[in-house]
């Protein structure tokens, strides 16, 4: 007998980004059996690129999931390999058979958290991360001390002493990744009126990390939407969308955040919910799965699905809406980085490039190896600093090869990771979100506003 393959569910799309769709009701072993072991995922998997080992490839991890399914336990070795997965979903794009690796790894992570006892130190660092990052107010409280620390000049001696590295590589990574805190950014109002004739009413997610560390991205997003004729509703009570928790197997916590977010935007009464952070958008488009995973009742799942249907990435939304505001020239050489949860997670690659290329005089370069993750991956760079740093270095090499002076990305984590790596190498590069570039062009700002 030669190759024998099982068919994928008829409802699934052939293209990678659609793999997750329509799989919600299918049982886990069924989703596992879609894999025919062809290996097409290997070259796009960042850990396979680093280590060249089967068990740190999607195909190998699916095999390990099958083993756990057969034997009913997770071995320490297998948990290590699941933890090593960045969840970048490049394999979902590469898979010709429509395997829903996104659903598989999410379920597996939730099971690991439930069934597998982690060592004490690991538990501590995880609970510290998750009692800080999903909470914007707590993150906000860190701005002041962080700014003082950055201004004090203490960072240099502290880093070279290696003390933090000895205390905890995760804490050291956190210190390295922390963005430079600039002056206070005025809070956004609850409603931003459309400029000129109103074309739509849209909701906007401000996010936790984006909101605390990159408030200027949110301001730019709202301003661009408004100048394109959208009335922007920014519900006050919104919190974390749950993506960080969901990507780390904290299913219950993720469901709580998701539920809150569903309620908040239901009340807002908007046609669409615009999200400017790839990781958040990717998760919000699968809220049904998040709630079902945590065992929430059907009616809530349906409401979550209804909200998911309204979620769009910022660039996706603007591309669909079409331009109205005039773009002014912006003579800058930029490189565009595909955030994994935008390209692999949501299949959005052409839209941001088209938006950027519509700006006169802006040169947009593509990076070599665009499908490979930069190593940021939510809180991955805090939990797995070593491989994250190696991937960061590879990405920095690719960015440097373009000779661009501005790096544009659609996700705050990527920008933090790449900027920090470039800074350490002494090749500092300006970073901006697609929204900030558009904002600068629409407002006719000079290139110095960005670089």
């Amino acid at each position: 007998m030669t190759e024998s393959a099982k068919s994928a569910d008829g409802t699934e799309g052939a293209e990678g980004a659609e793999n997750g769709a329509g799989t919600a009701e299918r049982p886990f072993p069924d989703l596992l059996s879609d894999c025919v072991h062809c290996g097409f995922c290997l070259p796009t998997c960042p850990t396979y690129v680093l280590w060249g080992e089967e068990m740190d490839s999607p195909r190998g991890r699916i095999h390990l999931m099958g083993q756990a399914e057969d034997e009913g336990v997770f071995t320490d070795a297998s948990v290590g390999h699941f933890d090593n997965c960045l969840g970048c979903l490049a394999c979902v794009t590469a898979c010709p058979s429509g395997v829903a690796y996104d659903a598989l790894i999410e379920t597996t992570r939730a099971r690991v958290e439930e069934e597998h006892e982690r060592p004490r130190a690991e538990r501590l660092i995880r609970s510290a991360i998750f009692s800080l990052f999903p909470y914007r107010r707590r993150l906000g409280l860190m701005r002041g001390p962080l700014r003082a620390y950055q201004a004090s000049g203490l960072a240099k001696p502290l880093r070279s002493s290696g003390v933090l590295e000895r205390v905890s590589p995760s804490v050291a990574a956190m210190e390295r990744m922390a963005p430079p805190i600039k002056g206070k950014v005025p809070a956004l109002p609850e409603r931003v009126p459309a400029a000129g004739r109103r074309r739509a009413v849209v909701g906007m997610l401000t996010g936790c990390v984006q909101g605390a560390f990159f408030p200027q991205v949110n301001t730019a997003t709202a301003r661009v939407l408004a100048s394109e004729g959208c009335e922007v509703v920014i519900p006050k009570g919104q919190g974390c969308c749950g993506a960080l928790s969901s990507h780390s197997g904290r299913a219950e916590e993720a469901a709580r955040f998701a539920e809150e977010t569903v309620r908040t935007f239901e009340k807002a009464g908007v046609e669409s919910v615009v999200v400017n952070s790839a990781g958040c958008g990717g998760t919000m488009k699968h809220y049904g799965r998040v709630l079902r995973e945590a065992g929430r009742p059907d009616d809530l799942v349906r409401r979550a699905e209804a909200l998911s249907a309204k979620v769009v990435d910022f660039s996706e939304y603007l591309a669909e809406l079409g331009p109205r505001a005039e773009r002014h020239p912006l003579p800058v050489k930029a490189a565009y980085h595909d955030a994994c949860h935008l390209s692999h997670g949501q299949g959005v690659t052409a839209e941001p490039r088209d938006l950027l290329r519509s700006i006169p005089d802006l040169e947009v370069a593509d990076l070599p190896n665009p499908e490979i993750c930069c190593g940021s991956a939510g809180v991955y760079n805090l939990l797995n600093p070593e491989p994250a740093a190696e991937l960061g270095t590879r990405k920095a090499d690719d960015v440097a090869s373009t000779k661009a002076s501005l790096l544009v990305a659609g996700n705050p984590g990527c920008s933090l990771q790449i900027a920090a790596t470039m800074r350490e190498r002494g090749e500092e590069i300006a970073v901006a979100h697609t929204a900030q570039v558009l904002d600068a062009s629409i407002r006719g700002l000079p290139p110095s506003a960005l670089v």
Partner: protein
């Protein structure tokens, strides 16, 4: 995943093994396990601690290559990074009488990299450095774990590419391509891997490092490179390859011609060849595979097509244009009701999309399927397709046909429902009967997927015992101890039973050690 022929050698009595496999024949189960674990510290000294995998769950991820029907957990996995490490590992295996199995990216479709519980799996996935691109001599030097497409990526800035293009080219390793003599859609014009390797460094089954050929185009003496390519790991492991680079063509044009039936399509192929046109690729799909591709990727092929023909032409622009006009005329004369032509990369990709997705796409119209790989002389194509259709009608099992029409390499896809009892066996029977058809028409049991374990037992259908014995002698010249990928490529009694099935037990003379048998 699905039903598997999982073999656990630990349950076998030592007498089950043939003497072609001395590594296992004379030793008991505990003995073999002991020898393997004694090997581990020495393997770690060679490959480093993180280059040796002993943990059971990790080893299990290596139990199959791209053909999961066969599975066996390797005794130990090593991940060398240099040619010297590979040679040292093989030397150790030879000294200890432990079998080894080479593995590249694990994408093979004949279980050629099926591991051994009593052996070492030597994986080249960490040997993926492009050592040199030498555009002046039109060649590149690469490590064996480099992905096929990565050679083209490295050569592209100089205006060159690597011609063999198996459909898994972004994943499959050059080392694996060498072991299997891989082809691809474009091997009609450009030939197989064997036509594109100028030099090799190989680690022999005795642990030596040997160089064959080099950057010079031709060397005197026996063509050992030719012998090594396609040897499926039975003669050693390629540790470095010098491959030929081909200039990127000035123009590429792809034509898609739709016919109402396969006969007309076949006629078009024959007339193209008869006119002396040498396309880079000539691919054909039948109605069933078109239906599958439409379901999977909405490739939008002409409606009502009973067959589509994809003809790709490349070379100097003037030649390509003239050939394209000729192919167009010939297709029209053969009855094509629609012809599309594309020269831009995006448009060409749209034409290829349906063809390239065909294997995976068939999963959309059938719960399970077998991909067969056989070859017939091009002139017999029409007749063989007719016979396949008859086989399909008689057995009630649907067969979709996708094939490299230019060189007669068939990939019949035998469809079945694995939930239905006995359906798998019936499909396997049809699949086997298709191979018989290929042989009867003077063809071969494999075009490009290799023999491996999967078709080793079919070899006697193509070769006489004397042919096989000669091959075995050749193999033994390289591997006297029989440790290099045992039980692949050539049939063994343990694997296939006695041929033609007279004796059930090991021959008395063999058991006494007075005769050898493969």
């Amino acid at each position: 995943m699905r039903e598997r022929a999982i073999r656990d050698r630990s349950d076998e009595s030592p007498h089950d093994r043939s003497t072609t496999d001395p590594a296992g024949a004379a030793h008991g189960r505990a003995d073999r396990a002991d020898r393997l674990s004694a090997l581990v510290p020495r393997l770690k000294r060679i490959c480093g601690g993180d280059g040796v995998i002993t943990d059971a769950s990790r080893r299990r991820t290596y139990e199959s290559d791209g053909l999961t029907y066969h599975a066996e957990v390797p005794g130990v996995v090593v991940l060398p990074t240099t040619a010297e490490q590979v040679a040292e590992v093989l030397g150790l295996c030879a000294a200890e009488g432990v079998p080894f199995v080479p593995r590249g990216a694990g994408t093979g479709l004949s279980a050629g990299a099926l591991p051994r519980t009593d052996g070492v799996l030597v994986t080249t996935s960490r040997m993926r450095r492009v050592i040199e691109v030498d555009p002046d001599n039109e060649c590149a030097v690469v490590q064996p774990g480099v992905a096929n497409l990565d050679i083209t990526r490295a050569a592209a800035p100089y205006g060159y590419y690597y011609a063999p293009d198996p459909s898994s080219q972004q994943v499959c390793s050059v080392g694996g391509n060498i072991a299997e003599n891989s082809g691809g859609a474009h091997c009609l014009k450009y030939g197989f891997t064997v036509n594109h390797v100028l030099g090799l460094q190989i680690a022999t089954p005795q642990g030596g490092l040997v160089r064959l050929g080099g950057k010079a185009p031709e060397a005197p003496g026996y063509d050992l490179i030719g012998a090594f390519i396609g040897s499926e790991g039975t003669l050693g492991i390629a540790t470095e390859a010098t491959v030929r680079l081909v200039r990127t063509p000035q123009k590429v044009t792809t034509l898609l011609a739709a016919f109402t039936g396969m006969d007309a399509g076949g006629e078009a192929v024959s007339s193209v060849v008869a006119e002396g046109v040498l396309p880079a690729a000539v691919e054909m799909m039948d109605a069933l595979s078109i239906e599958a591709a439409e379901a999977a990727v909405a490739c939008d092929y002409p409606e009502g097509a009973g067959a589509v023909l994809i003809v790709e032409l490349d070379g100097p622009a003037a030649d390509v244009d003239a050939d394209a006009a000729m192919v167009r005329r010939l297709c029209e004369r053969a009855g094509a009701f629609e012809i599309r032509e594309a020269s831009g990369a995006a448009e060409r990709a749209r034409i290829w999309k349906g063809r390239k997705s065909a294997f995976a796409a068939v999963g959309r119209i059938s719960p399970a399927y077998i991909v067969q790989d056989g070859v017939v002389p091009r002139t017999a194509l029409g007749e063989v397709l007719g016979d396949i259709a008859r086989l399909s009608a008689e057995s009630g099992i649907r067969v979709a046909n996708v094939f490299h029409a230019g060189d007669g390499n068939l990939h019949p896809l035998v469809l079945f429902d694995d939930a239905e009892p006995g359906a798998g066996e019936r499909a396997a029977e049809v699949s086997g009967a298709i191979l018989d058809l290929c042989i009867r028409h003077g063809g071969s049991i494999t075009g490009e997927h290799g023999v491996g374990v999967d078709k080793a037992c079919s070899m006697p259908r193509m070769f006489t015992p004397q042919d096989l014995e000669t091959m075995d002698l050749f193999r033994r010249a390289f591997d006297p101890a029989g440790v290099a990928n045992p039980e692949k490529l050539l049939p063994t009694p343990r694997l296939c039973g006695e041929v033609p099935g007279v004796r059930k037990d090991v021959h008395p003379l063999v058991a006494e050690g007075r005769a050898e048998q493969f």
